[in-house]
Amino acid sequence: MAAAEEQVVRETTRRNWLLSAPALVVLVFTATLPFVIVLVYSFLTPGQYGNVVWKFSTDGWVGLVMTRDVFDDTLGWADAHLTIIWRSVKLSFATTIITFVVGFPTAWFIATRPQRSRPIWLFLITIPFWTNLLIRTFAINEMIRNEGLINTVLMRTGLIHEPIVMIYSDGAVLLGMGYAYFPLMVLPLYAAMDRFDMRLLEAGYDLYASRLSVLWRIVMPVVRPGIIAGCVLVFIPALGAYVTPRVLGGGKTMMLGNLIEMQFGQGRNWPLGASISITLAVITLVAMLIIIRRAGRETAQ
């Protein structure tokens, strides 16, 4: 009996692995293996015209935060890189906070609509989410540039006489990222609120709780997994943003993504580009692991 059961288990296992094999092979060759190669490349020496020379070197990693003096070979802090790393982290945090502050009420608004109209509101959030990121970034550019809509309207109405310079700044990148990643915050928040039992609110008010304390002590703890998921989903792409800083930040407001791209373009330092890219992936992975752990613990409770 036990042997027959074991036979069945072995057969389903074999069948399921066979069914998954083609996709796994493709992903191993297009995602896993290339990533391992990036890791290897980060320990090689940059070639003169891009690519690499097969000679071991830790310069790719040292170059992440340090710079070697051209004349006396001494190491000093790579201020340019540190500024970019700091800006990336700062802007990504700010994007997460802004999208949360606006996204929480928005998700709540959708979750408290009547059952019938809810899908429509949700659909309205989803359309911008699936709209080409480039188009959305262009649209923001169109709003805030010197000859853009906002400045034109303000000048026409005579409120200002000189255009307000908004574009090509940290603020412009922040606006663009907040705009682009807003749906990523709202959707998981909504998913958590949708499951929220609204009777808990009645219970809270019955016990003379104020709106603020109901919000803080009943809603917040229950929807916390959604909050965490939303924050991660916004923070990760924000940290690796490439298009938004390029279109809205101009040449001077670079982020990690642009720094990486530069190493493969005119920078011609593939190992450095590889090491920055791996750093980015590791940060992402750690953030994900924390979330999965947290979420797991919460379901266990």
Partner: protein, 265 residues
């Protein structure tokens, strides 16, 4: 006096309505001014299809559009063909050794910023390009497949999880072979999930700009990378026109997606 509603939070509705307005104002502006007869973005000079005609006649745009469609079609087809069996293998089955591993492998690209796989493929394909001499669209298709597989997998899996095994069991009781059951019961029932997954793949492939920018060889611009390249010379109503067409395509595909995945009451 207004009745006290437990679910109302002061100011929340106002913030939400403003958020929706801010979300749509920029996209609608772009769409509106793509029909502007004049060149300026914020100076309306009458309705015209002028910029659509200019974009349509532009051979570079034509080439990029055709390339985008070829890549998106192949990437969608391959992703769905690869993801469907995985979905069948990982749902409605007893836990088997390696299931979590397969799940993690399939979704590995879902959580990293696009620039990370873009760099990895740039390096990897650069080496292969030198070794084999092949420079074609295959690299871009493969890169998009990598990026699209989890997006095909998730809706198909969701659909499968909502299907119970009773019809399949009934078919087996009536001596249908495994293949007959698959072809005549499981796949037809699964079709809405497969089409939904295909739509997400198609949209994603059209959108993907960073991976395409890194992987493409010379002269392989897609619409997305063409638009990014043109942007250096500033936004033109022509780009607005292309954007609006892509936007319309996204709305059509998404509407289809929602109608397909909607839960019937």
């Amino acid at each position: 006096m207004k009745r006290f509603s437990v679910t109302t939070m002061p100011g929340f509705a106002l913030i939400a309505i403003c958020a929706f307005a801010v979300l749509y104002l920029p996209i609608l502006t772009i769409a509106t001014f793509s029909f502007n007869a004049g060149k300026a973005i914020s100076d309306w000079q009458g309705f015209s299809f002028r910029w659509y005609e200019i974009a349509w006649a532009n051979t570079e745009v034509q080439g990029a559009a055709i390339r985008s469609l070829i890549i998106a079609s192949w990437a969608t087809l391959i992703s769905v063909l690869l993801a469907t069996p995985v979905a069948l293998a990982t749902t409605r089955t007893a836990k088997f050794p390696g299931r979590t591993f397969i799940y993690m492998m399939i979704n590995q690209t879902l959580v990293v910023p696009e620039i990370v796989p873009a760099v990895a493929l740039l390096i990897f394909f650069a080496a292969i390009k030198i070794q084999t001499g092949y420079q074609g669209l295959g690299y871009l298709i493969l890169a998009h497949v990598m990026w699209c597989i989890p997006l095909a997998y998730l809706p198909i899996r969701a659909r499968l999880e909502g299907m119970d095994l009773s019809l399949e069991n009934a078919a087996a009781d009536l001596y249908a072979s495994r293949w007959q059951t698959l072809w005549r019961i499981t796949l037809p029932l699964l079709m809405p999930g497969i089409i939904a997954g295909a739509m997400l793949c198609f949209i994603t492939s059209l959108d993907t700009v960073v991976i395409t920018e890194f992987v493409k060889s010379g002269g392989q611009d897609t619409l997305a990378t063409y638009m990014l390249g043109q942007f250096r010379r500033g936004l033109t109503p022509e780009i607005n026109a292309i954007s609006t067409v892509l936007l319309a395509l996204t709305v059509v595909l998404l509407t289809g997606f929602f109608l397909l995945t909607r839960k019937r009451d």
